[in-house]
Assembly symmetry: C2
Homo-oligomer: 402 residues x 2
DNA sequence: TTAACATGCCTAACCGGTTTGGCTATTTTG
DNA sequence: CAAAATAGCCAAACCGGTTAGGCATGTTAA
């Protein structure tokens, strides 16, 4: 009875020791969060490696599982490539059997598989994203365009990333760079027009982009702008039609091509009717000191000895600011002075008097821009698409309609 | 003289043959656009492989070179990892010599190296992007918030991706999904409030997000909203202060918590002053048939036997539409009926009479939302940040100020 | 009967970064 | 003078997809 007992106890001892070794081992793995890998070191030796599980892997376990191609691959014992092909709808083309396809699609749906767009973008070399850069997204004009662009882009599976430059050249440069870093496939830019250099660079690099609202006359690019000269021309003609003889123009300091064109439209039309009186009726304001300069401008137009009887404002913002000043001076609109705004605002009909405006085809600008851009994304074009869209005069009481 | 000649010609022949072989070889490479690889096949044999150059690689050659870590690595004979570390500013920490660091930084700057954000996002598991979902970006209220959010986010190195839902539950769901697919790090949502399910899912998955403007009272989340009840309360009190006894409320059909709160503020305040007349003075309109219902609502408030002498509009849009109807009926504001708008618009001072409004702290909403979100991105919080921001009454003539 | 073709799936490179865990040589310490 | 510490860098796995090319196996045509 002695011998067997001793053997038994020896077994128990060994068993216990093994058990503890296992415990320590498992503990080690859990404590340091490592996974075990068997690896051949190249010289024929096999190594045991305790690989650290990445933190990302852990975070995912906490949240409800986001599954990846690899996960599906492991569960279904089907290679990643086959799964990728099937889920991209190229299963038939690549001769994957119906059975396998069904199995994959079923599993993917059940587990709510969603491809990681970063990974996809990285490997496909494109991100299905287009960048939109505007001076100020909180300006209704641009936000309406943005909305339109977003809607249209979505129909083709694109996402829009946007940013506002605040009319700063540096910001615009930074933003373009940032968007390129994010691998956007194309850009739609309402440029500050102080940044010809970047635009030329984009063009030289054959990067797809479309300028909207503002374009660089010296650079041949795609663009969608409105017929600015034609717009102010309509405005001036309307005032002339009402019998106004001395028509003022309140605009911004030159810098934007659009603004220049609006001035040209004003001048040419007045000349055509023999009513041009030189630059004395033209007030070019600095956007940075708008309030103060507007006051002076309006006073000068309204109270000088050669006072005007009509004013065209070059932007919707100038119109509202100008209107505030006109109110302060108790000018009677349209009897003393009739006004027309280049650019509409939704509330122009609510003001007393309702404001006549040259309306820009906002929706069309957005639509065209996206169309042109998408065309360019599909194939590199050798020609440039340049659109001048027509404006539409909406006549209200501020220029004499009853 | 014979022998040497034969040897010479033999050399020349061999040389020519070799030369042609090389030519064919080079030609092959160029024609099929392959690059050559030496590869060990695992069984110890070395294989020569003609690897097809990927199309992406070719496209890059066409455009001005975008350089990658690998490019730098090859030129400088320094490993990718070292370069990555140095360019991320962790060179000192990781004990990379000053020399090497300088060399890398110099090269990177000279060649204008820019890391691919998709690749970085993929490997870091975050994209430095936040998603913004609003009902309608072309609504000034949201576009102003968007601008603010964008600015604030940029200061912390984040980009904003935005989209509009158009108040559609399905769209909202799709957009959230899309943004998750794009691996946004967090979301800011002005929800349609028909989508509690998704919000709960996000919450359960511990995904960082902040609701703005509209929150779900039944779900505990981060949010930034305004004190809606307090807002209408101020509006009603102002009307009462003017001696108005019968105050109407034009609002939207229930659905949004914010709208419900505004109604509560209206009711409670009237009750407090003993002026509550029940729901007959409350008009709840359907946004889908706003024009037509607004007409009826205004007629009913203005022309019935118990007509009101003051109206509070629950949103800025209702105010402008209501105003149009009031104009049609030639109602005198504020003498016959005084009005107050919940929500301001930039042009309210331009209208005749200028509109009194309950102003929402738009900038603050954006700022707070970003602050809270960024906090949550840095560390998972266990508590929720819930902000009720104060509104401010801006009194103008429409409710009796001179 | 054998070559040619079709079927069905897999292997491994690749996109462009980040990060961990060494490895080697030099310097410091005992 | 050996051991330990430090400096300085690298190799390779990894993120999660896409894609070209290839390899069995079965079928058909010559």
């Amino acid at each position: 009875m002695d011998q067997p007992n001793r053997v038994d106890s020896l077994f128990i001892h060994m068993f216990l020791i093994l058990f503890f070794i296992c415990l320590i081992f498992v503990n080690y793995i859990f404590t340091f969060k490592r996974q075990i890998l068997l690896i051949e070191d190249g010289k024929g030796k096999i190594c045991l490696i305790f690989w650290k599980i990445s933190q990302i892997g852990l975070a995912k376990k906490l949240s409800v599982k986001k599954i990846s191609l690899l996960d599906i691959s492991e569960k279904l014992k089907i290679s990643k490539s086959t799964i990728s092909i099937v889920l991209n709808g190229r299963g038939d083309e690549k001769r994957v059997s119906k059975e396998t396809q069904e199995k994959i699609v079923k599993y993917a749906n059940e587990h709510n598989y969603r491809p990681n767009q970063l990974a996809r973008g990285l490997s496909r070399g494109k991100s299905e994203t287009i960048g939109l850069i505007v001076p100020n997204i909180s300006d209704t004009f641009y936000s309406r365009i943005a909305r339109r662009i977003e809607r249209k882009a979505r129909l083709s599976g694109y996402t829009v990333v946007y940013s506002s430059t605040g009319e700063s050249r540096t910001r615009e440069n930074e933003l373009i760079q940032m968007m390129l870093d994010r691998q956007v496939d194309g850009l739609i830019i309402a440029s500050t027009q102080k940044n010809q250099e970047d635009v030329v660079r984009l063009k030289n690099q054959q990067f797809p982009f479309v300028l909207i609202d503002r374009h660089y006359p010296d650079v041949e690019t795609n663009f969608v702008v409105v017929d600015n000269a034609g717009g102010t021309s309509k405005a001036v003609e309307q005032l002339i039609k009402l019998g106004k003889k001395h028509i003022g123009f309140v605009t911004l300091k030159p810098g934007l091509e659009a603004i220049r064109q609006r001035l040209i439209g004003y001048e040419e039309t007045l000349k055509k009717y023999g009513l041009y009186e030189g630059m004395k009726n033209v007030k070019e304001l600095d956007p940075d000191h708008l309030d103060c300069e507007m006051m002076e401008a309006i006073k000068s137009l309204v109270q000088s000895t050669h006072k005007v009887d009509g004013i065209v404002f070059a932007t919707h913002y100038l119109t509202t600011q100008g209107l505030r000043e006109l109110r302060k001076l108790s000018v009677k609109i349209p009897h003393e002075i009739a006004i027309v705004s280049f650019g509409q605002m939704s509330f122009f009909d609510l003001i007393e008097p309702p404001i006549t405006s040259v309306n820009q085809p906002v929706e069309e600008i957005g639509d065209k821009a996206v169309e042109i851009l998408l065309d360019n994304l599909v194939e590199k074009k050798l020609t440039y698409d340049q659109q001048y869209l027509k404006t539409k005069l909406e006549i209200r009481k501020s220029c004499g309609k009853n």
